[in-house]
């Protein structure tokens, strides 16, 4: 599924009123603020119109920043995106924002979605846009509308037109099956990427989200692969004398950082994919693993127990200037740099409790977002606002959860089965 050729038309034809500055704003930095009440009546154009507005509503609801109102309370049916709503009727149900839309098939059979976002109390149009796509991509159109609404009302880019790769966990503890799987961010269109003949772990997307690199484990040893999601073709990163694991692409996709082990000592290497040459970045007798590049590609945050317990360190991408950034009580692992460069997410183990948390790249501003028996493996949504991770209760299997970095209640991700090691794609083209 690639490049359906979306057209985004900043609607001159749609502009009933000039787009106003948003009076209503969702403050994404205040965890305690109430989600914004938004009314999303079913889009016109049966039956796909209603399906599209339902997907938009579910996306916004799951973000926890919006509270889509119950359509049963609506006092106006509006399925024409070119009509001005009766704002009083939407004020009456305390809707602050209103999203109206309609779907039409254009002359060459393509789907066209027109929509407008309204500030109910100001009586202004905030947004009037049009998306065009092939009919089978209607869900992606819905996600793009949700992204536009999210961005307009929060000021942060959306993250709904994305995919999530992860490890689907089945079998038993004694005979585990671990397959890579990929799905849309809202759980739709799941499909397996590996056949389960070997255990597969830690999928990580390339910059264009067309490839994942992951670790494969068999009784005889491990391997790191580069897997093309569309073609299913994969190749190994190479052969190493010991364990090889924890791969991650550089932001430009030209390199993969990973850990390789020899005689029990794990160090971090980086491979240039064009020349296939390796460079060793750490040479410490301690455990060095879980490398993650800064978005400019110039630094790497990683996990090391060189100080006596697992902590987070930052080094330059050539291995120089190593310095420790985590100093709190507890054990820090799985650091991941946020796409905007401002945060590093991590797993923290303190006593018997595991947390997902974030800190700034200099180690300041630590904030814990979750607490449970076992939370691990955070991954960032491309807007650097939402984190997906795996959560496990004692004696139970792992499940995927999402949490907003402003510190809201974690929510189960839309995948009902056991899963771990989530990775979040970039916004799709």
């Amino acid at each position: 599924m690639r490049l359906p050729g979306f057209l985004i038309v900043l609607g001159a034809a749609l502009a009933l009123a000039a787009p106003a500055l948003a009076d209503i704003v969702v403050n994404v930095d205040q965890g305690a603020s109430q989600p914004l009440p938004i009314a999303i009546p079913a889009f016109g154009g049966a039956p796909v119109g209603a399906r599209i507005s339902a997907v938009i509503s579910a996306d916004l609801q799951r973000s926890e920043l919006f509270r889509p109102l119950d359509p049963g309370t609506f006092q106006e049916q509006i399925t024409n995106a070119n009509l001005q709503p009766s704002f009083d009727k939407w004020k009456a149900i305390s809707a602050q924002a209103l999203l109206t839309g309609q779907v039409v098939a254009d002359a060459d059979g393509r789907l066209r979605v027109d929509f407008r976002l309204w500030d109910v109390y100001a009586g202004d149009q905030l947004l009037g846009l049009q998306f065009t796509s092939t009919p089978e991509n209607w869900r992606r159109v819905a996600h793009k509308v949700a992204d536009a609404v999210y961005e307009k009302l929060t000021g942060a880019p959306g993250y709904f037109d994305t995919r999530i790769a992860f490890v689907a966990e089945s079998g038993s503890k004694a005979h585990p099956v671990r397959r890579l799987e990929i799905m849309d961010q809202d759980g739709a269109n799941p499909s397996y990427l590996t056949d389960g003949s070997a255990l597969a772990f830690t999928p990580r997307f390339s910059a264009n989200s067309q490839e994942v690199t992951y670790m494969s484990l068999r009784p005889t040893g491990s391997n790191v692969y580069l897997l093309n999601i569309e073609t299913g073709r994969q190749e190994t990163l190479g052969h190493f004398p010991g364990m090889v694991f924890a791969p991650r692409f550089s932001p430009d996709g030209s390199r993969v950082a990973f850990s390789a082990e020899k005689d029990g000592n794990s160090d971090i290497y980086v491979m240039d994919l064009a020349s296939r040459s390796n460079r060793r970045l750490t040479a410490d007798p301690a455990i060095d693993t879980s490398p993650s590049f800064s978005p400019d590609g110039r630094q790497i945050v990683f996990n090391s127990d060189r100080g006596g317990s697992p902590q987070l360190y930052v080094m330059s991408a050539d291995g120089g200037d190593v310095h420790r950034i985590s100093f709190g009580a507890g054990r820090y692992t799985t650091p991941v740099w946020s796409p905007d460069g401002k945060w590093i997410a991590f797993t923290k183990q303190e006593g018997s409790v595991f947390h997902i948390g974030v800190m700034k790249p200099d180690g300041s501003g630590e904030k814990l977002l979750t607490a449970s028996y076992l939370d691990e493996g955070p991954a960032w949504a491309p807007n650097s606002r939402v984190i997906i991770y795996s959560h496990q209760a004692p004696g139970a299997g792992a499940h995927l959860y999402m949490v907003d970095v402003s510190g809201r209640e974690p929510q189960p991700a839309p995948y009902p089965l056991n899963a771990s090691d989530p990775a979040w794609s970039a916004l799709l083209p």
Binding site: M243, S259, G264, N265, L368, T370, D375, E376, E409
Partner: protein, 190 residues
């Protein structure tokens, strides 16, 4: 149980409630007496854990009599195929050395046998770190066996991290069982 940032708060609230209940009960009976300091719970003694051998030639069958010398079952029953580690450690404990000494002696007696040391971890750690930790445990055992005269070329190592637990429970006892290095006989045993 749902994860959440306010779990600590909920727990605190629950504890507070328990404290109130306890205070109420005490008020009904007699004046409270201060308790002495709480002694730390002693760590559980290293428990030998009966595991099934790796499937393969000579695997245990129910009701079988004495193991055939040189077989996988002989190794598992009479020598011991697993040694255990402390939390986040990879140094050999005192209870591991006699087992590894016996493994080395057995492997010296059967020089065509090849082994694979599989390092394992409990689930109280993250996945990638545990692959590294399990590799250290496997390498420690390999180095010890080599120091006792087993040719290093006969010994492969792998780390299973926390992905192949032998104890399916959760809690301290299961965690202890799952922190181990398993010596699997891969070639040459009957």
């Amino acid at each position: 149980m749902r994860p959440g940032g306010n779990i600590g708060l909920r727990r605190a609230a629950r504890l507070g409630l328990l404290a109130l209940l306890a205070a109420g009960m005490v008020a009904c009976s007699s004046r409270p007496k201060p308790l002495g300091p709480v002694a730390p719970t002693p760590p559980p003694p290293p428990a030998p854990y009966q595991t099934s051998p790796a499937p393969g030639p000579g695997a245990v069958e129910e009701g079988q009599s004495a193991p055939v010398p040189g077989s996988v079952r002989d190794f598992v029953v009479n020598v011991g195929d697993r040694v255990y580690f402390d939390f986040d450690r990879f140094n050999l404990r005192d209870d591991a050395r006699p087992i590894l000494d016996a493994q080395a002696a057995w492997l010296t007696r059967y020089p065509t046998v090849r082994v694979r040391i599989e390092g394992n971890c409990d689930e109280r750690g993250t996945r990638e770190y545990n692959f590294a930790l399990g590799a250290r445990r496997a390498a420690t055992v390999k180095a010890y066996l080599a120091s006792r005269g087993v040719a290093a070329s006969r010994i492969d190592t792998v780390s299973f991290g926390k992905e192949h637990p032998i104890d399916m429970g959760s809690g301290d006892e299961a965690d202890q069982h799952n922190r181990n290095a398993h010596t699997a006989l891969t070639e040459g045993a009957s």
